[in-house]
């Protein structure tokens, strides 16, 4: 039984500096509270890192180790991290230390290749050699099944893979389950016995050739064995080829997906090029319109000078007009002796008349005609100014300018977009991609042919088996004492082989029934839906919920998925020799209160040590304490010091 005693972290994720978590060895549950983004998943990853040197992100993708070191430390130039795990197994005390540090000489590492990973495993105080340590770790916690112990509540996709055994992942997981449930013991035994059976049959055939009575049959049998052996080897080769063709197909499928993306890019590039051509011709049209408008644009610059000049001319006009009028009045006054002043309506006095005479005498030089001509000239100039004033139509001109500018901007933007796509497509070998499609089709054909070939091969082997058995029977009738021993040997192997062959099927069946029964038992304790009666298991350990009326519940919510996954884990723990802690990140995230309560109460029945990573709303402390009571062995908090620094602190409240 694997039990974790302590986890020591150094600069791992948000856990700055040296920090430790201690766990009770008494059966029960330890709860670690922390809001999202505080580092709950990092704790799970710390344990993964300790055992496997890996850290996982969303979708089970391996994360770059370079990013794992505490960010506050790396910004200070301190790179690297370490995890130490203290655990017990079978009354032995282990200490596993795994560290990741920059290679010597590297001061500023930039990716994983700049780092080196080392680990040490000690047992009861004695450090193990590297080979031994590796074997021991693989035995204690095989990576393939770690998913059933380090359970990330958020990543349920992989569990759904179990329901679909067609997927590669589904097959691997069910193989992993069978491995921990002991099936390989029987399948290996079957294989060993099969080889030995063949060998004994061959010995018997050879022995038969030693006796004249049975020589012909013996030879015939030996030949059949040889041919069957060849066929078997051929079949194995075909099976290997099939495996290879299948992975090739998977790889090509990936490439095809990529090709679709590229086809989309190519389309986009073509569209952009068409748009660029349109924009260019649009711009050319506008450019010509602009040039035409610019022919008279020069007058637009003259608004101000024209206004100033017009102002001056108007002043001049006023002055001239006044002058002309004044002379008109004076002459009239001079001509009519007894006239009245049109302004004040008084008779002009002799003194005033004298002044008028003098004034008129002074202002000769410019006769009336000249003055009129000057005024006309000024008025002509004013007219010329006014003519030009209206010509420019500035706003229309501006629109044309802006249209040309916009077209140029549009062109530049689309051009850079197009250039970007072209660059992306540069590094791609279009020829190679076209080839991918043909290769894919070829792979499918190849797989089909191989599958058919294997079927035929197997049929042929069956035929040989039948023929061989035939001859064997005749030999048995004829054979004397010398053959007896060989026959006995062969019979034992044959029976042993058949027995273990049957045992594989029986054992699998019993196992599934037991897992199904245990899972159902857990399920009934966990579910809050009274109409749900049981869980049904399929060949790849996928579980379906059964309604009390016997029908399947085919689709279920993420919350239900959670519950079913937990039931499987509980059942595997009940049936596996590999018992260990269950560490769950956000187990209740999608569940309502009643489910949460049920699960919390049921957890201690699933395994001895449970570690939960939750946030306050997900599992309020009072609920946990009420449901678990004495089984609650420890409470911790992930406390925020900064966005990049979390502390592990025992919960005091």
């Amino acid at each position: 039984m694997l039990q974790i005693e302590a986890l020591h972290l150094e600069d791992f994720g948000p856990f700055k500096g040296k920090q430790s978590l201690r766990f009770s060895l008494e059966d029960g549950v330890t709860i670690i509270y922390g809001e999202n983004m505080r580092g709950k998943t990092s704790l799970l990853n710390a344990i993964r890192f300790a055992f496997f040197g890996k850290v996982l992100g969303r979708g089970r993708k391996t994360l770059a180790l370079h990013k794992i070191g505490n960010w506050e430390q790396t910004s200070l130039g301190k790179f690297g991290f370490q995890v130490q795990l203290e655990f017990r197994e079978d009354n032995h005390k282990y200490r596993l230390t795994r560290s990741c540090h920059p290679r010597s000489g590297i001061v500023a590492p930039s990716d994983d290749s700049d780092y080196t990973i080392e680990y040490f495993l000690s047992c009861d105080g004695n450090v193990m050699g590297p080979q031994q340590a590796e074997t021991e770790l693989k035995r204690i916690l095989p990576e393939q099944i770690s998913r059933f112990f380090l359970f990330d509540g958020e990543l349920l996709q992989e569990y759904e893979d179990l329901l679909n055994s067609e997927t590669d992942m589904g097959r691997r997981i069910s193989e992993a389950i069978e491995r921990i449930l002991g099936v390989p013991v029987l399948t290996t035994a079957r294989a060993t016995l099969s080889a030995l059976k063949d060998k004994s049959e061959h010995r018997e055939a050879l022995a038969a050739q030693g006796d004249q009575k049975t020589r012909e049959l013996g030879k015939h049998l030996a030949e059949l064995h040889a041919q069957r052996q060849t066929l078997r080897e051929d079949t194995q080769r075909l099976e290997r080829d099939l495996e290879q063709a299948r992975s090739q197909k998977a790889a090509l499928e990936e490439a095809m997906k990529k090709k679709e993306r590229l086809a989309a890019w190519l389309d986009k590039r073509d569209i952009l090029e068409r748009m660029l051509r349109e924009i260019t011709s649009r711009r050319e049209v506008k450019q010509v319109e602009l040039q035409q408008a610019m022919a008279t644009a020069w007058t637009a610059l003259l608004d101000e000078p024209i206004r100033q000049a017009a102002k001056a001319l108007r002043t001049q006009e006023d002055a001239l007009q006044t002058e002309i009028m004044r002379h008109e009045v004076l002459r009239e006054l001079q001509a009519n002796a007894n006239s009245e002043c049109p302004a004040c309506l008084q008779v002009v006095s002799p003194e005033a008349r004298k002044r008028i005479e003098i004034s008129l005498a002074h202002s000769t030089g410019q006769d009336r005609g000249q003055r009129q001509r000057a005024l006309a000239a000024v008025r002509r100039k004013l007219a010329a100014l006014e003519d030009h004033g209206g010509l420019s139509q500035k706003s229309a001109l501006r629109l044309l300018w802006d249209a040309v500018d916009d077209a140029e901007m549009d062109f530049a933007n689309k051009k850079s977009e197009r250039d970007e796509i072209t660059k992306q497509l540069e590094s791609v070998d279009e020829e190679a991609l076209r080839k991918t499609k043909t290769d894919f089709e070829a792979a499918i054909k190849s797989i089909d042919a191989l599958e058919k070939g294997i079927v035929k091969s197997r049929e042929a082997i069956e035929q040989y088996n039948a023929d061989a058995e035939n001859i064997q029977r005749r030999l048995d009738k004829l054979g004397g004492g010398s053959l007896a021993k060989e026959r006995r040997r062969r019979e034992i192997y044959s029976n042993l082989h058949r027995l273990f062959d049957a045992a594989v099927g029986n054992y699998r069946e019993q196992l599934r029934k037991r897992v199904e029964a245990d899972a159902t038992r857990h399920f009934r304790a966990l579910t809050t839906e009274p109409d749900y009666a049981a869980l049904k298991i399929n060949d790849s350990y996928g579980l379906t919920i059964i309604h009390k009326d016997g029908s399947d519940i085919p689709v279920r919510s993420a919350g239900a998925e959670h519950v079913v996954a937990l039931c499987l884990i509980g059942a595997l723990q009940n049936n596996a020799p590999l018992r260990g802690p269950i560490i769950i990140d956000s187990p209740f995230g999608r569940l309502d209160r009643s489910h949460t309560r049920n699960i919390v109460k049921a957890l201690p029945t699933m395994t001895k040590q449970i570690i939960l990573l939750v946030y306050d709303d997900e599992l309020p402390a009072d609920i946990a304490r009420n449901e678990l009571k004495a089984k609650l062995r420890g409470e911790w908090r992930l406390e925020r010091r900064s966005a990049k620094h979390t502390d592990l602190v025992p919960r005091k409240d």
Partner: protein, 120 residues
């Protein structure tokens, strides 16, 4: 006044600057650009004058078919002792020279629509 010019031209030194103005693509001809330069010179406050050594380029009939430009110049420069077309030649050359001195980035748009006038 003395006899006015019948042809108008650009000095050798201004020829490159004029060609440069046109190359930006806003004007469809050197004449349009020259008129623009003339207006620029007027706006900049260039006073009356005359240019020497201008090489003949345009006939006044092409420049000012309806005589309105002459009237305009007479109206803008009433005190000038220089004849209108000679004056026009002077202003064109002065304008081209000034625009050339701006070193290539002649921002015609900004001259037409100064920043103080907000975009509509």
């Amino acid at each position: 006044m003395a006899n006015d010019k019948k042809t108008v031209g650009i000095t050798a030194t201004n020829a490159a600057a004029l060609a440069h103005l046109v190359s930006a693509g806003h004007f469809s001809s050197e004449l349009d650009a020259a008129k623009f330069a003339m207006a620029y010179a007027i706006k900049a406050g260039v006073r009356s004058g005359a240019t020497d050594g201008a090489e003949t380029k345009w006939n006044v009939g092409s420049i000012d078919p309806d005589g309105s430009m002459r009237s305009l110049l007479e109206a803008l420069f009433p005190e000038s002792t220089v004849e209108p077309y000679r004056l026009a030649e002077y202003l064109m050359n002065e304008g081209i020279k000034a625009l050339g001195e701006q070193g290539g980035r002649t921002n015609v748009y900004d001259m037409l629509f100064p920043a103080s006038e907000a975009r509509g």
